[in-house]
């Protein structure tokens, strides 16, 4: 009986210890589960922090890029404005360059010869080809006769001078005259040219260029036309007068030389 009791007591004891072990294991498992959950939480939180930091970093980067983009856009619009300005300046420079080329050629040609007829021909060429005149007259003032003598005419312009007329006023005042009439309209009145340019040497008027009509395609004056008129006023006058004087001096020299040779023959 006692032995049986002892076995039962030991079995109860073992069962109690086993239950305690079971309880302990369950507790351990539960703690393990809790800790794993906690680790997962911490891991998630760490990742979240990391993501937030990355987002902050990216946001900062985006802000920086946006600033850069803004700066680049500003720079681009500045460059575009500069580019437009340069293109405008380039176009102006090209026009100026062409104008200077026209003036250079006209001036070069006017002073390229001392032959009077050639000089007159060049003046006529400039008036037709560079200015675009159709009917005109180039006239020199004969101070002894007090009248204008045409040295070249194209069309019907002859330029009679009436004291109260346009041509007389240009000679008197030495200032160019430009009519308000549209260039497509021609003038048939020799006293009323559309344009009258004085030929001047040091302010002294030696003649005029009177233009009565322009080529059909010439609808308006450009800047270069006014420059050419100015050039003709000065350079054509000098070229015409110097070639005229040169021709006269050549003739005089020839006459004198012949006379001297004749004298020599007579004295021998």
């Amino acid at each position: 009986m006692d032995r049986k009791d002892g076995i039962l007591r030991k079995a109860d004891e073992f069962l109690r210890i086993f239950r305690q072990g079971e309880e302990f294991t369950r507790n351990l498992l539960s703690e393990n589960e809790r800790l794993r959950f906690r680790i997962a939480e911490l891991e998630e939180s760490r990742l979240q922090d990391l993501n937030e930091s990355k987002i902050r970093h990216y946001e900062e980067h985006v802000r920086m890029l946006e600033d850069e983009l803004k700066r680049l856009r500003e720079r681009l619009s500045l460059l575009e404005a500069e580019n437009k300005d340069l293109a405008k300046r380039f176009a102006l420079a090209a026009v100026e360059n062409n104008n200077l080329a026209n003036l250079y050629v006209a001036s070069y040609q006017l002073h390229s010869t001392l032959d009077y007829d050639e000089v007159v021909k060049i003046v006529v060429e400039i008036i037709i080809n560079l200015i675009g005149a159709d009917r005109f007259a180039v006239m020199l003032l004969d101070e002894k006769l007090e009248e204008l003598v045409p040295i070249a005419t194209e069309g019907s312009g002859t330029g009679a001078r009436r004291e109260d007329g346009i041509i007389a006023a240009v000679i008197r005042e030495g200032e160019s005259y430009f009519s308000d009439v549209p260039l497509r309209k021609a003038s048939d009145d020799p006293e009323s040219p559309l344009v009258c340019i004085p030929l001047k040497i040091k302010g002294h008027v030696i003649g005029v260029i009177a233009i009565y009509s322009f080529l059909a395609q010439k609808s308006r004056f450009s800047d270069i036309d006014y420059e050419l008129f100015n050039l003709l006023a000065g350079h054509a006058a000098t070229a015409v007068l110097s070639s005229k004087l040169y021709s006269r001096s050549e003739n005089d020299y020839g006459t004198l030389r012949n006379f001297l040779e004749l004298l020599k023959e007579k004295t021998i």
Binding site: A94, V95, N98, A101, N102, Y104, V105, A106, Y108, Q109, S112, I122, E125, I126, I128, N129, L130, I131, G132, L215, A216, Q217, K218
Partner: protein, 123 residues
């Protein structure tokens, strides 16, 4: 390197056109004083484009155009007519004879350079 033949009897216009043509990069300019002179230059030089006036002594620009177009060696050379004749019928006449472009005087050199560059680009 394009070779440009300028056919013009007026020395002023010849110089002005040549001056403008020399501004085309790499261009070489040859001058002729009339149609006959131009034909001589055509047979001795390789010409890429012709700029010709209409009113010239000896042989005018229109006659030159018809002779160039009638010659198998030169018929494809572009020709630009530069003249004081600004009327539409003059332009039509020049174009019907075989000119490629027509520019009335007084010329705007930028316009001339643009036309020449355009014609050279078509070749």
């Amino acid at each position: 390197m394009p070779t440009i033949l300028v056919v013009e009897d007026s020395p002023t216009m010849r110089q002005l056109i040549s001056f403008a043509m020399r501004r085309i990069p790499g261009s070489r300019v040859i001058e002729a004083t009339d149609g006959v002179d131009a034909l001589k230059k055509l047979s001795s030089e390789k010409i890429d484009i012709i700029l010709a006036d209409i009113n010239m002594p000896v042989m005018d620009g229109l006659k030159l155009v018809s002779l160039v177009r009638g010659n198998s060696a030169f018929k494809d050379i572009p020709i630009i007519i530069i003249t004081t004749e600004g009327a539409e019928e003059d332009r039509k006449k020049a174009m019907s004879m075989g000119a490629d472009a027509y520019l009335p005087k007084p010329i705007q050199t930028q316009e001339l350079i643009r036309l020449v560059t355009e014609q050279l680009g078509k070749r």
